[in-house]
Symmetry: C2
Subunit: 208 residues, 2 copies
C-alpha cells in the first residue's frame, strides 16, 4: 500500500490498520492519583524501554484523548505505577479505555483492586503480576503530531521471584503476561527460542 | 525489588533483567544504506507507534552502541525500512546484533536477501512478511541517558493482503510475526480475545 492509498482510508479503518500492522505491542495499566487523591487507571500500549541504568521507561501520550487524566495526574503528582496484566484481567483492563468522567475511578468501575506500596502514593493493580513504581522525570513534546513522550524513573518493581532466572531473564510467559495487536486484540506468547549474545565470527547459537 | 537493590545488580544481569521484566516487545530489522551505497541491517526492539495520521513510527537509539551505523545512515540518507520478521528468520535476525565492521553488510553475512521498492533507496528484507518504507522526520535527544528518539513517516507498506480484515485489523499471527522478551528470547503469540470499543455504560463485549 503506498501513501496515497493509505491517506484515502476511512479514519477508523486507518487507525485500526496502522495500530495493528506495526507489530506486536506491550499492554499496561497506568495507575495514578490526582492532587485530591482521586484514583485513575488507564490502559496503554506505547510503553518503551529507554534505558536500564538508570531504569527509565517512556510512554507516548495523546494529551487530547481519553488518556488526558493519566497525563495530567502524572504532571501534577509526579508519581505513577505501570502494571503488566495477565490473561485473567484482559476484559477489565480493556474496559479502562472507556471515557469515564474524572470523578469516577476505573478501579471502582472495573473491580480491579488497588494496592499501595509503602511510601508511594500512586495505586498499583493488586492482581497485576508485575508492577513498577515510577517518578516523573521528563516530558518531551513531539511537535510532528502533538503527542508527548513522558519518561519516568523506576523506584521499585514487584514481580513473582520464580519467573527470574540467575542471568536476570524474566520469563513473562510464566506469569501469563499479555501483549496486544492493534487497539483491541490481546495476545499470549510462547518463547520459540533464546540465543546467545551474537558475535561476528560465530554462527547463531541457541541458548539452552 | 527496590531501587537500592536494583542498583547493586551486576551490569549484565541488570540489563537482562530490566529489558525482560518491562513486558513484551516488538522486534524489527532496520534496513539502510550509507551515502556510498553500503547496506546495513540491524535488529531493534524499541519501535513505538507515534500516530496514524500521518503514519509516524519512532525508534529509541543508543548512538554509542552497535546501533550506530543504522543511526548514522538514517541521518545521512533520510531513508530506511522497518521489517517485521517471521519465525523462520529469528536466527538470522538475531545475528545482525553482532558487531560487524561498517564495510560488511549484514545482508551478506546473514543470508537475508535485500528487496528494493521502486523509487526507494533503502533495502527492505525480502523474506519479511511486513515491511515499511520511511523517510526521516525528527531526531529528538533524550538528555536523561544520551539516547535519541528518531521519528520517521511511513511512505509505503508491504504486507500479505489476506491478514487484513475489512475493519482494518491486521492479524500478525497469520504471518507468524514474532515478538521478543528481553535481549534474546523470541516469541510467537496467539490472540486470546478481541473486544469491542469500550463504553462507560456497557460491560466489556467480546468481538466475534
Amino acid at each position: 500500500m503506498n501513501r496515497a492509498e493509505y491517506d484515502t482510508l476511512e479514519q477508523r479503518v486507518k487507525a485500526q490498520y496502522f495500530n495493528s500492522i506495526v507489530g506486536h505491542k506491550n499492554v499496561c495499566l497506568i495507575g495514578t492519583k490526582d492532587s485530591a487523591s482521586q484514583g485513575n487507571l488507564a490502559i496503554f500500549n506505547s510503553l518503551v524501554h529507554i534505558g536500564s541504568n538508570p531504569p527509565l521507561l517512556g510512554i507516548i501520550f495523546r494529551p487530547d484523548s481519553v488518556e488526558r487524566h493519566t497525563y495530567e495526574n502524572i504532571l501534577e503528582t509526579k508519581e505513577y505505577t505501570i502494571n503488566l496484566i495477565s490473561t485473567d484481567d484482559i476484559a477489565a483492563a480493556h474496559q479502562t479505555s472507556a471515557r469515564y468522567p474524572k470523578q469516577q475511578s476505573e478501579f471502582d468501575v472495573t473491580g480491579l483492586e488497588p494496592h499501595y506500596v509503602d511510601g508511594f502514593n500512586a495505586p498499583s493493580v493488586a492482581s497485576a503480576p508485575i508492577s513498577f513504581g515510577l517518578v516523573f522525570r521528563e516530558n518531551i513534546p513531539i511537535p510532528l503530531n502533538g503527542t508527548n513522550l513522558v519518561i519516568g524513573e523506576v523506584q521499585w518493581i514487584n514481580y513473582p521471584e520464580d519467573i527470574v532466572a540467575s542471568d536476570g531473564f524474566a520469563d513473562l510467559t510464566k506469569a501469563h503476561i499479555v501483549g496486544c495487536i492493534g487497539l483491541d486484540a490481546y495476545t499470549e506468547g510462547q518463547i520459540i527460542q533464546r540465543f546467545e549474545y551474537a558475535k561476528p565470527d560465530k554462527a547463531p547459537r541457541i541458548k539452552a
